[in-house]
Each structure stands twice: as C-alpha cells, then as structure tokens.
Subunit: 333 residues, 2 copies
C-alpha cells in the first residue's frame, strides 16, 4: 500500500502539504498541487480512510439496522426497495452503507454499541416493531438517526401515509357499491399494522358501515392472509370486499378464496397494501395501495444527512400513497 509518506518522498514536499493538496486547501501553490496530484496518479495512491477517520472523527459511513424481532425478515420486498432508495441517495453524497448487527467478534452488543464501536456518522433503522428497547436506545442517543416505518416524536421518522391508504381503499370499495367490507389487519405490535387498522376504522365510521369485521392477519405473510380469510369465509354475514393491510396478506386471502371454490373479483373484491412487484404480475392482478419505497428511502437519507450536517430538529416525513386499480376489484349490483 502506498501512503502519504510515499507521495511526500517522491515529490519532495512534506506530508502536510500533500494532505493539503489532496483536500483542496486553497493555500497550496498551483504548481505544487499539480506536482502532487501527478504523483498521486502515478503511484495510484488513495488515502486510507481508516486513518482519516481516526483523525477527523468522520467516517463517511452510515449504519443500517434491521430490527426484525418479529421475524418479518429483510427478504420482504418492501425493505429491499427502501434500502435501495436510501443507498442510492447517500452514495451520491459520498457515504458508504454498513450493516450493523448485534454481534461483534462473537460477543453480543446492542446495535447502538456496535454503531459507536464502528464509528458510523449516523444510523437508519428499519423497524416494524412498535416498541423495541434497542430502538429506544438509538433514538435516545446523540448519534444522528432516522427511523423508518415506526413512530416517535424524539427522532426523524419516515413512513407511508398509512391512514390515508386505508381511507383510499375503503372509499374505492364503497364507490363500487360494497357495504360489507372486512379488514385483514397487520400484526398489532407493528406500527403500520395499527395505523392501517385505525384508518380502516375511521373510514368505516365515516360511511357508517356497521357490518364490517376484522380478522388478524399476523406478520404480513401469505399464510397469515390465508388463515384470516378462512375465518372471514365462515362468517354468517360474509363480506363482499376485503381490504388487507399488506399485499402478501391479500395474496393469501385470494388463495383461500380460490380453495373455497369461490372467485375474485366475482365473489369478493380485494385490495392490498404495498404494491410489491408480484402484485401486478399475478392473475387476477391485485388492486392495491402503492407505497413509494424509493421515496421513503430517499426521505430517510435526506433527514439523516440533514441531522448529521446541521443538527436539525426531529422531523416527521409522511410519504403519500396511491390507489392502483387492477383486476381484483369489481362493482357489485
């Protein structure tokens, strides 16, 4: 590895001057700078970021944490898309992304301790879990952070307009003539599950739909939706439409309906929540509330970098959602 000393030796300047030239200080003569930059090029030198970090206290690395105690897992397309958006945004500003976990060298530490140990400049937390001790610690720390898909007034948060999403779904079903609308809810320990449920209840209230029932769908899995739908199918007063808190739940419900020998959208209209890639590709394609994952990632990046650079106050960013009409919804006579 070539170091700053090699460049100094080759050019005859001190490492101080080399460092200055490299960091675009103005008080280096153009001639000197040119010489140094040429040597840097020749010797294929890149400053060691570890040494730089040690002396500047700035790592140009951001930590990303998945709190997945509930076991939803990072394989869910939502998370990946959000991360992708986040990554793109921060890379542009020169930051690298580092996955933080709870184990370092075989020893268990908290996510926060790990972040501190690694010296990241900030943390993005993806936490579906409503109240988590680990996340509380991060929020309460002085390390800049942003929380995605959960809520707190003490830090930066980014999530979809879940309430509005539920409202859009019920509005649409109502406009199609449905009066008995059921909800397959997300896990009650998740922030988004609760919010979507709350939105559903408020919409149902608005239209005075006293028949509406709710089935617990659990952790946003296909199987959870399947089971919930089986419960709904046994109801005496069956719904004609189902709004599920996630696309996976909706897909599971569709399967249950099919297995019962019934049809979507003839017997049941269905709306999901997410708009994962799959939803447009299945048959019938799924009407759903689209979350703008890229935007969520970008927003998270923006809030986090803002805090890192200007120490702004905690900011809440609620990202708009959109109703995507497809084939699983149908007007009833």
């Amino acid at each position: 590895m070539t170091t700053i000393y090699d460049i100094a030796k080759k050019t005859g300047f001190s490492i101080t001057t080399v460092s200055r030239a490299l960091n675009n200080y103005t008080d280096v003569s153009p001639k000197t700078k040119k010489l140094i930059l040429e040597a840097v090029e020749d010797m294929h030198y890149y400053p060691n970021s570890v040494a730089r970090t040690l002396s500047t206290k700035k790592s140009w690395a951001l930590g990303i944490i998945f709190v997945e105690d509930l076991g939803i897992g990072m394989k869910h397309p939502f998370f990946n898309s959000v991360i992708e958006g986040f990554k793109k945004s921060v890379e542009q500003k020169g930051y690298d992304l580092i996955f933080l976990n709870r184990y370092v060298g075989g020893e268990k530490m908290t996510y926060l301790d790990h972040a501190l140990h690694r010296g990241v400049d900030g943390i993005a937390v993806v936490s579906s879990n409503y109240d988590d001790v680990e996340v509380e610690k991060i929020i309460g720390s002085s390390l800049p952070n942003v929380i995605i898909d959960s809520h707190t007034s003490k830090s930066n948060v980014v999530y979809s307009d879940n309430m509005r999403g539920s409202e859009l779904a019920v509005d649409y079903l109502y406009s199609l003539g449905h009066r008995n609308i059921a909800h397959i809810s997300g896990h009650s320990k998740t922030f988004v599950g609760l919010e979507r449920l709350r939105g559903f209840k408020s919409a149902v209230e608005k239209y005075q739909l006293h028949n509406s029932s709710i089935a617990e769908g659990g952790l946003f899995s296909v199987d959870g939706g399947y089971q919930a739908m089986k419960t709904l199918l046994q109801l005496e007063n069956r719904p004609t439409a189902i709004f599920a808190a996630g696309d996976n739940l909706a897909i599971g419900a569709m399967k249950a309906i099919k297995d019962a020998g019934l049809n979507v959208p003839d017997d049941f209209s269905i709306i999901g929540f997410d708009d994962i890639e799959l939803s447009g590709q299945i048959s019938p394609s799924l009407t759903t509330i689209k979350q703008d994952m890229d935007k969520i990632g970008e927003q998270a990046a923006e809030l986090l970098l803002q805090q890192i650079n200007h120490k702004t106050d905690p900011t809440i960013s609620i990202v708009p959602v959109e109703l995507i009409k497809r084939e699983t919804t149908k007007a009833i006579k």
Copy 2:
C-alpha cells in the same frame, strides 16, 4: 466517548495492560483482568474499531459489490437471498458487511480502489455480467475475494449447477412425453444465461430433439419472457413445452400464453429457473429448478473467510439445484 485512557486512569493500570486484558492475553493476572473488565462495564466502554484497524491492519469488514451494468438490479430476489445467506454467515464470525460503490466523496473510483481505500478484509462480488473490467481488477488483486454467479479460474467462485438444472428440466419434460421443447434463454452476456443454454443444448442433443427452438429472453425480466414467448407462439411448429432460464422469464411467458387465449399447462408445459418466492404463490404455481440461494451465500462466505485466514488456492463451489414439480407441467398423450 470513553477511551482506553479513561479505563487506564480509572483502574490505575497502563493502557497496555488494559489492552491486554481486553484482548484476552494470558499474561494478565486474573485480579487485574477482573478489575479492568469491571471498569469497562461501568464506564460502558467499547474499543474504537477504527483505531484498532489502523494499528492491526484488520478491519473486520467485508465489502460487497453488485456489478449491475446490465441493469438486472439488486432488487432481484436472487441477489437479496444470496446476500442474506452471506451476511448471516460472516456476521457469526464477527465481520460486518459494507456496500462498496464506485463513488467516494463525489469522485469516481473503481470498486477495487474503493475497497482498498476502506480497508476491507475481503470482497464478495455478485456479477451476472460475463466479462467486466472492474471484476477483472478485483480478481487480479491481492485482496481476498469471491465471485458469485460468474466464472474464473483465478479466484474463488460460487454458483449453481446451471448445466445440471437445464438437464433436470429437459429430462422431466421428456419424461412427460414432450418432444418439442423450446428454451427461453437468459442474456448472452451473462454467465448463468450461457450455462443454462449450454445445458439445454446438451440435453436436447442427448434426446435427439431436433425440433427444439430457442428464443432470447434478455435480462431475466418478466417482459423479456413475454416477448420471447410471443415469438415462440408464432412458430409454425409450436413447442409443447418451454424451459425458461429464469422464473421471471417463465412468468412472462405464462402471461403471453394467457393473452393468446391459450392455457398452461393444457397447451404448454412450463419450467422456470430460480424458485423465487412468487413461483409457489402464483396460479398455476410454477414448476422450476430451485437454486439454493442461502447455500450460495454461505459457500461464498466460507471460501472468502478461508482465503482471508489461510490463503487457500482459488476454489470453485458448485451448488446443487433441484427440480420442484408444481402445476405448470403436465404429461401429454
């Protein structure tokens, strides 16, 4: 931030002794060690990994690189699952994962330069691209590395048994009575696309299926499969079965068949390659060649860590595939 000096001051020992106690050196008296560890606990001290890295030349960080010039993108479920498996394996050994890109602080550098700059201990490259200058540089470097989904004899490589997968697919279709089998191939610039095509050709040769045709499916997208299938549908001598080089391609093909008013599996049997989550959930569910993504990730981790620790010779790890029989395949009379 509390440092090793704080612990030294509090306990009255030198930083040398504190460091020794922390790193489990044997030549520290049990009593001293206990005192120091207590202080560490009390003061909530965690060693600064940046400083440690600077003095030991070991970062306990691994770089991960996506070469996605072709634009397949990291959102493809295959990559995410592989990364997940890789991540789990290396975390257990105390390594963190850091995403490497080509931009650092706004300036463009190669992936290798970035890795060197960051001081990672090794690199995992996910590269569908067959020959890539950047990847060549990494392979040719002295930094330990492993290449996933591409081939070279000069470094560690891990990929599925693509040839065997194609063979399994054709064998099965043949056993169902199909004699006119088409292949929707992956992009000819991708290693896996070429391998699966090669496997297909060899199987077709084995059974002397002179009718078999091939349609280019491009970059493993649903739309690519759709377009390829449209071509196949126009053939005078239509195939009765299609083996697609990816599940997305197969799903696209299914859509094209449906749009043409035809049916799977009645009019066409279809087999994909991947076994992405979606494949089991669509209707009809997709018969496919399952890749063991977790295993690929684990193998990559193992080879990389081996090279880091013992400087082993370049190793090729070919991960077995498996035929998953589902609803898109059917015997013909």
